[in-house]
Amino acid sequence: MIDAVSATATSRNGHSTNPVGDGRLQRDERTVIQSLAGLPGRFARGLADQAMQRVPPADLDERDPDYIREALPGMWLLSSLWFRGEVRGLGNIPEEGPVLLVGNHSGGNLSPDTTVFTLAFSAYFGVERRFYQLAHNLVLSMPGLGFLRRFGTVAASPANAEKALRSGAAVLVYPGGDHEVHRPSWQGGRVDFAGRKGFLRLALEHDVPIVPVVSIGGQETALFLSRGESLSKLLGLDRMLRLKVLPISLALPWGVNVGDFLGHLPLPAKITIEALPPIRLRDEFGPEPDVDEAYDHVIRMMQETLDALAAERRLPVIG
């Protein structure tokens, strides 16, 4: 459900600061949108408007602990009965203080990882502990998904991440974002951040520990066929909506599902999540850590864990 992007992706700063001149950008978009005929065109135009006009401000106060607490039983039912969720290693997360939780992202726009993890985190530490998730602007702009803000979901941007960490919160980021969440199902056992290292700069800047959170099973909730990067580029969605992908999958109830904008009915794949011991970058890599080295280290740790989790699975979906 939550489709977060690299928190400090400076090359993708959002629409208002797009390096291309605003006037030229709007003309390009208009041309692209007008070239789309019929319903898909209207839908794309609607989404573009939503994304452009309704990007919610990052008001950390929108997180509502009472609301989360009251929603936990419903999440517990979904997580326990449908996804048979299993979350390990929550004790590895520091008991207090700001922490950057870095996850691999799976399951399309209705990512079950986030639901299962948010439930486990909130039950384990209590809803009183501040916990924010960074999400793609578009997710928060979608009509009907405003409730996510009450769970602590904020639009992904360096400023918002900084604000959340400064408040002493645990912040969940998915650096792989839309690139990783729509990877083909046969790549389900691969951690793929697409080289996005913004989370490391964020952790260094605020001197917070990184806790890798590795999950498996999300890519089995549908048959993901392709990210559709070329299609997205062709339609101009990368510029309009910061969407570099237009995923194609076989999913319930649509059959062929292009875009996954309306989500899908996820198959009841078993979701297993493991939180790893915290990585304190300056303790492990010296006072001036090399970002590339740290990136490789984090990816290697997560990939090894994902391999181990994959080895435990006997059958797809069933787990």
Binding site: P73, G74, S80, E86, L90, A123, Y124
Partner: protein, 176 residues
């Protein structure tokens, strides 16, 4: 939702009480409990606070609890401060021949969670009930085992004393 389990233990209430008032031993006999730690430095008794978690389904649920009733060798009750709403109670009642009837009650839920909350309570009940039942079985084993060892130690001490006999002063201590 209120769940309850009972068992009869072949030891007096004081022996059971000793176990259930020692927070460091909860992880040894409470099934499904993943955490039971002292939340502040207070000694066991009225007002003592613990942080507890029990694995139910895909989450570890619980929170901060506070002891609200501490009636020695008889009743120990707690209520939640944070986390899910819960109220628990150990109820010990002495039976004939040094045995104890032990009852463990747990009422839990999330106020304001509506129909889904009610459903979650029902769905989770068999798991919680199973945890309580296994906890009592483990408690019985531990208490009775300790009782047996205590009795054996007493018998051994008596044998040693009688073996030493009415020897001159200092005989027994020489043997030890």
């Amino acid at each position: 939702m209120r769940v309850c389990a009972t068992i009869e233990v072949g030891a007096p209430p004081a022996a059971v009480w000793e176990l259930i008032t020692d927070p460091s031993r909860y992880l040894h006999f409470m099934a499904g409990v993943t955490r039971w730690e002292v939340a502040d430095d207070s000694a066991p008794g009225l007002g003592a606070r613990y942080r507890m978690l029990m694995r139910v389904g895909s989450a570890e649920v619980g929170g901060l609890i506070e002891v609200v009733e501490f009636d020695e060798d008889c009743d120990l009750a707690w209520t939640s401060v944070t986390g899910i709403d819960q109220r628990g109670r150990w109820r010990l009642r002495a039976l004939d021949s040094g045995r104890t009837h032990v009852e463990l009650r747990l009422a839990y839920g999330v106020a304001g969670s509506g129909i889904l909350g009610w459903l979650a309570e029902q769905v989770g009940a068999p798991t919680v009930r199973g945890h309580l039942r296994r906890s009592l079985q483990q408690l019985k084993r531990q208490v009775e085992h300790e009782q047996l060892r205590r009795q054996a130690a007493e018998r051994r001490a008596q044998r040693e004393v009688s073996a030493a006999g009415p020897s001159p002063a200092g005989g027994a201590s020489d043997r030890s």
